[in-house]
Symmetry: C2
Subunit: 393 residues, 2 copies
């Protein structure tokens, strides 16, 4: 492996649209709104024209199945021409990976100030036509026409976890209750209502034990962050946040080749890379944004990220250890479950949430004294993992 | 801009499938074949397991309109699990941009040895269903249903160049004659036959002045290169090639906003960035692979890259200055015209050709003593430009 174990790239600004069913706003509208809020968030001011390069995370095109050349659409939206714009696609892990690639370019000294945009417009087609619905088919997997769509993947994991570790349906439900509670306080959330344990437990079964209230919604949204060379960052803010570790791993898409459905080897590998680069251990993480596309996944992520021993994720939520005031508060934004999951924007939106936490600007859900924050994205059926670690000085 | 003007990343291996109508080989077959040749090309041996991270350039999915999660397909193909794999998409500039992103990660010291793969499977659908056919529609441009597809874009440029600079149809045709001549000697070419000036001039008009024999074909193919830290590279080869400059620029997709159709501002910007980083001037380039998707584009590229003054591209080809033995021999591989244009693979395939040239392994088309080589990709209707510059010690 490479020699650089002390990567330090500053995050000097972050912004996000509200996530939700945004029928009145186009892909371009969302990009512009997120970028504007991001520019305005820079403490000492930052002009769009100072941007030297852009990374774009859009997983599924500006409209479903309308792919390619999206970098040009961003140039047109921002009226920012003849700069480098790279689109990164890595399924649901696209956002975290776009930040990773942008950070490498800054760490290499190629650019001083770059913009990362995550944007996805998913609601303009019916749910049955979304990428979620046909992602198995896309990869020509035999399982898709037999009904094994995304909730089914999550169900396989959930059942395996229940069988192997005695994890209970109530524990899965508790994740949804927690995330709805926090999401209800987030002005950027798609859902701003709370749910009770009974409501989750009585919600319709989608693919047992996955119920409707375990599932994240289909969402429109965009988010943006500005990364900068740490020295240059001083010109823009006295309260920078640093990206200090990043990891990405890709496993087989084919679920039949997994040795176990109780964890994601890709996520474990990505976390290991990120912790190593950041020179920290899981116990050092003060706050995390996790990829709870389905509530049981959050429980597995506690384990895959090392927040608790393998098999004890159910206990971790039950004992409130992932709540505000707990060992590692997770998804204080509401997570994918409540905030929403605009695929390409999700990872960048997580960075926006952690940036606020590490600057002490998270309001009612602020983790006191948070110094180290983590974000992660699961891609495919646990096939891709990306982990980014941020810290304040 | 950033401080690093002396990026130096070694290229220690390169491989490519033959380009063409490869109905008998899948996307995975092509990836595997290119990677195998690439690994075998490393002078002192290189094992697949030594790869630390992968960048993948695939522009249009594994089959047309079947997008997303392609990184997993590469993991499955190579049986290389839980490593980082990032897909980069930037239309026809994807290949050059994937190399650019991989190089940044190596330059940052994150990885010592990374693999860049470009792969595209385009022939499994009829031409009318290819991305070339619907790329205007994809971007919701009004012009597409009115017939302004890719050859029409090139025709607008060609006519403007003829009007403004007196460039002649014979000069466009001469580009095709040259590239067919060189391509006929390239074992990797889709077309291995020569054409005469008369044949080109008498070939059917697609969109005047663009004729059939000015158009690159639709192609299947894959290519791969290994990038390495320059110090580490010494372990693998005594004849490394270095990537010393890279540039990317994105303009509007909308042709109505161009001030002129005689050049690509994106390409001019990308070239400027790459020359600056490489600390060279256009006159230093010994050999180049250009993006001749349509023959008149090659003439504009001579100018946009600074090989000749603006407006003198026609004279440049007429006087043989882009031929072997000329001022800057261009497309000695046959170029997109003859070698073929598997979109995501094209830029990586160009790197493969330049790598051979700079190592003195280009056989009948070897440029004697070539030290500096350049590749470039045009994306969209001249909307994206990427330029990479390589040199040997």
């Amino acid at each position: 492996m490479g020699v650089l174990l002390n990567m330090k790239v500053a995050v000097i600004g972050a912004g996000s649209t509200v996530f939700g069913e945004l029928f009145g706003r186009s892909y371009a509208d969302l990009v512009l709104e997120a970028v504007k809020e991001c520019l305005n968030s820079v403490d000492k001011g930052f002009e769009l024209k100072e941007v030297e390069a852009i990374w774009l995370s859009t997983a599924i095109g500006t409209l479903i199945r309308r792919e390619g050349c999206i970098s040009c659409e961003v140039a047109d939206t921002l009226r920012l021409y003849n700069l480098p714009i790279t689109r990164v696609e890595n399924a649901c892990s696209s956002g975290g990976d776009a930040i990773r690639n942008a950070a490498f370019a800054v760490a290499a000294g190629i650019y001083d100030k770059v913009l990362v945009i995550g944007a996805e417009k998913m609601r303009d087609v019916p749910s049955r036509d979304t990428v979620i619905a046909f992602s198995g088919e896309l990869r020509h997997q035999w399982w898709h026409p037999r009904g094994l769509t995304a909730p089914g993947w999550a169900a396989l994991y959930a059942v395996a976890h229940m069988n192997q570790y005695g994890t209970k349906e109530e524990q899965f439900a508790e994740v949804a209750v927690k995330n709805h509670e926090y999401g209800s306080m987030n002005p950027k959330s798609q859902f701003k209502f709370k749910v009770t344990l009974e409501q989750v437990m009585n919600s319709p079964v989608v693919a047992w034990p996955i119920r409707l209230l375990h599932c994240c919604p289909v969402t429109d949204g965009a988010a943006a962050v500005i990364l900068a060379n740490p020295e240059i960052a001083k010109k823009y803010t006295d309260a920078p946040v640093y990206l200090v570790g990043t990891g990405l791993a890709v496993d087989s898409f084919y679920m039949g080749w997994r040795e176990s459905y109780t964890y994601s080897p890709a996520m474990v590998s990505a976390a290991k890379q990120a912790y190593k680069m950041a020179r920290i251990e899981p116990k050092d993480v003060d706050v995390a944004e996790l990829h709870d596309c389905f509530s049981p996944v959050e429980i597995m992520l506690y384990e895959d990220l090392g927040f608790c021993p393998k098999g004890e994720g159910g206990k971790f939520i039950e004992e409130g250890l992932s709540r505000l005031g707990g060992k590692v508060p997770c998804n204080l934004s509401g997570g994918l479950k409540t905030k929403g999951h605009p695929i390409g924007a999700t990872g960048v939106g997580q960075a926006y949430e952690i940036w606020k936490q590490l600057r002490g600007e998270a309001g009612k859900v602020q983790v006191n004294g948070a110094e180290i924050g983590l974000t992660c994205n699961w891609g495919g059926p646990g096939s891709i993992g990306v982990v980014n670690i941020y810290r304040r000085p």
